[in-house]
């Protein structure tokens, strides 16, 4: 897919809680095609300590409003500067980067999308695109506490939503891999994005249950296009760039389960 460097306009910055914001970006021209699971490299101009771009998952593409959504956890200088952007300011973005999740091969495929923390971001767009193809996804979303469950109302538009929290303040208490839906239902494929320990646990569950599984990685990166070789992950094919050969990998390619 052709990559672009675009100056997008911030059309809204929706503060979800003290840590998370949803940034909506618009452009005069129609946004390029983007696939669920791909990402954007954002140049952060309003932070003197931020030198490199920040890779951010494509959370949603609202075609009717020609808007791109980025869900951002403000945890460092760069992401905090992004969270404080004013409506109307410009954000320089490289997009779309990397490879997306595999789309279901038929409408009857039962797909479980498992997200944790800010890692739920790409699953919203994935769920929406699945729904457009006539396939209803099931979401299993985890967080530390109920206040950190993100975009639940948006997820509910596209499929059933199951929730876990570590403190039990919403849904079932515990981790996503403890949720009862994994026992009560069968899935043909699991696609996951979130903290690495969560994704490894999901991958172990999927492998043991014989379910095809893809994970979206977020290794630290610089260039975003496969040039600097900084963001590598060890795979069955040697070190591969998360930015170019990923960020979505089938878990069979990763060495997590060895």
């Amino acid at each position: 897919m052709k990559k672009y460097v675009l100056d997008l306009t911030v059309s809204a910055v929706e503060r979800i809680n003290e840590k998370y914001v949803l940034i909506r970006l618009a452009d005069d021209k129609p946004l390029p095609d983007m696939l669920p699971g791909q990402f954007v490299e954002v140049r952060v101009d309003n932070s003197p300590t931020t030198f490199l771009r920040r890779p951010i998952s494509i959370s949603f593409v609202d075609r009717s409003r020609n808007e791109l959504w980025l869900l951002v956890a403000a945890i460092g200088d760069g992401t905090r500067a992004m969270a404080s952007l004013a409506v109307g300011s410009r954000l320089n973005c490289l997009l779309p980067l990397g490879n997306g999740f595999t789309m279901p091969s038929s409408a009857s495929e039962r797909v479980l999308l498992v997200g944790g923390g800010v890692g739920v971001a790409p699953l919203l767009y994935m769920g929406a695109e699945m729904r457009r193809c006539g396939c209803e996804p099931t979401f299993l979303l985890g967080a530390r506490r109920s206040a950190d469950l993100l975009l639940l109302d948006h997820f509910r538009r596209y499929g059933r939503v199951f929730v876990t929290t570590e403190d039990g303040s919403a849904g079932e208490r515990g981790f996503v891999t403890n949720h009862s839906v994994l026992q009560s239902e069968h899935f043909d494929r699991i696609q996951t994005c979130g903290p690495k320990p969560m994704m490894v646990a999901v991958a172990r569950y999927a492998a043991a249950a014989g379910i095809d599984c893809e994970a979206s990685l977020e290794n630290m990166m610089a260039c975003g296009v496969g040039a600097c070789l900084c963001c590598v992950e060890k795979t069955t094919e040697g070190n591969l760039c998360v930015c170019k050969e990923g960020p979505v990998f089938n878990i069979n390619k990763l060495l997590w389960l060895n």
Binding site: T49, F51, C223, V225, A227, L229, C230, V232, K234, N239
Partner: protein, 303 residues
């Protein structure tokens, strides 16, 4: 429109702007962003005789106005390059230059001789300055005898333009440059990265898998300009300057310090179109200052 053409030995560059090895892939990664044939040259990723997996992750740490990396020359080896990558890049209308590394003078020479056979690769850049590998790399570039041994071995088996990339992690970079020139190098490029380190104080360990890494980006530019200036006064062969160039003004500093051409590296990560902007910016600057060519300002500050 000033004359932007410059020459490195027999190698004619459309303009003085090249890309630095390890920051621009094989060029094709940036083809969506810029016309690759608008560059003076592209120095492709470091290539070794045998495949290398490179160092473990994490390989990168962001620092003040720069970054550290310890990639460690990950590449699929020269034979893979010749069979699979060369066919994809040979028709790009610019100087496609291969950066060559090795763990012994014979390694370098064998790798160079295989690239000598490729029609559309008019030059190589010998990397005797990689700080991130134990077996070779910078070990050769920090002594005159080491640098000379590699250049001598390669010169015997490589017929085209031979550029040697120098390390800044030395006491006297001019001495090393003179040693390379004496063994038949056609040009020297500098600087490779400066060895550095960054520590995560919460985890009480280095941010990089092998402890240390190479610093690049605007943080290193004044050091690089100084070294280019020292080397340009010490040798007769053309000097290629690099280290932290982000703008046309940065590139012009290097040219005035004595560089015939420049390479842009880390800036490609921030703006994938930066090379073309620097080229156009040099052109505008020359016009605005009544200069008819780049050549007029090479070494302008070397008094």
């Amino acid at each position: 429109m000033a004359e932007l053409k410059v020459k490195i030995n027999n190698l004619e560059l459309k303009n003085p702007v090249m890309t630095a090895s390890g920051t621009f892939g094989y060029g094709i990664e940036f083809a969506d962003f810029i016309p690759l044939d608008g560059l003076g040259g592209i120095i492709v990723k470091g290539t070794t005789l045998r495949p290398r997996e490179g160092n473990d992750y994490p390989r990168m740490a962001e620092t003040a106005s720069g970054m550290l990396n310890c990639v460690g020359l990950q590449n699929k080896g020269v034979d893979y390059f010749c069979e699979h990558i060369y066919p994809q890049i040979k028709d790009i209308d610019t100087n496609m230059i291969v950066n060559v590394s090795g763990s012994s003078p014979d390694d370098y020479a064998e790798c160079a001789s295989r690239i000598d056979a490729l029609d559309r690769i008019p030059a190589i850049e010998l990397n005797i300055s990689c700080p991130n590998v134990h077996d070779g790399g910078m070990a050769f570039g920090v002594t005159c005898a080491g640098a000379a041994s590699v250049v001598r071995a390669v010169r015997r088996r490589y017929s085209k333009t031979l550029i040697v990339k120098l390390s800044p992690n030395v006491t006297d970079v001019a001495d090393i440059a003179r040693a390379c020139e004496a063994e038949g190098a056609d040009s020297v490029s500098l600087i490779n990265t400066l060895m550095g380190m960054s520590i995560d104080i919460e985890r009480r360990c280095s941010r990089l898998s092998i402890g240390t890494g190479g610093l690049s980006g605007p943080a290193v530019k004044p050091v690089a300009v100084r070294m280019v200036w020292q080397v340009a006064r010490a040798v007769g062969i053309p000097v290629i300057g690099l280290g932290g160039i982000m703008t046309a003004a940065d590139a012009i500093e290097f040219i005035m310090a004595g560089a015939t051409a420049v390479q842009i590296g880390t800036a490609n990560f921030i703006d994938p179109t930066v090379t073309i902007k620097v080229r156009d910016g040099i052109d505008s600057w020359l016009d605005a200052h009544g200069c008819r060519s780049v050549a007029e300002i090479i070494g302008a500050a070397c008094h």
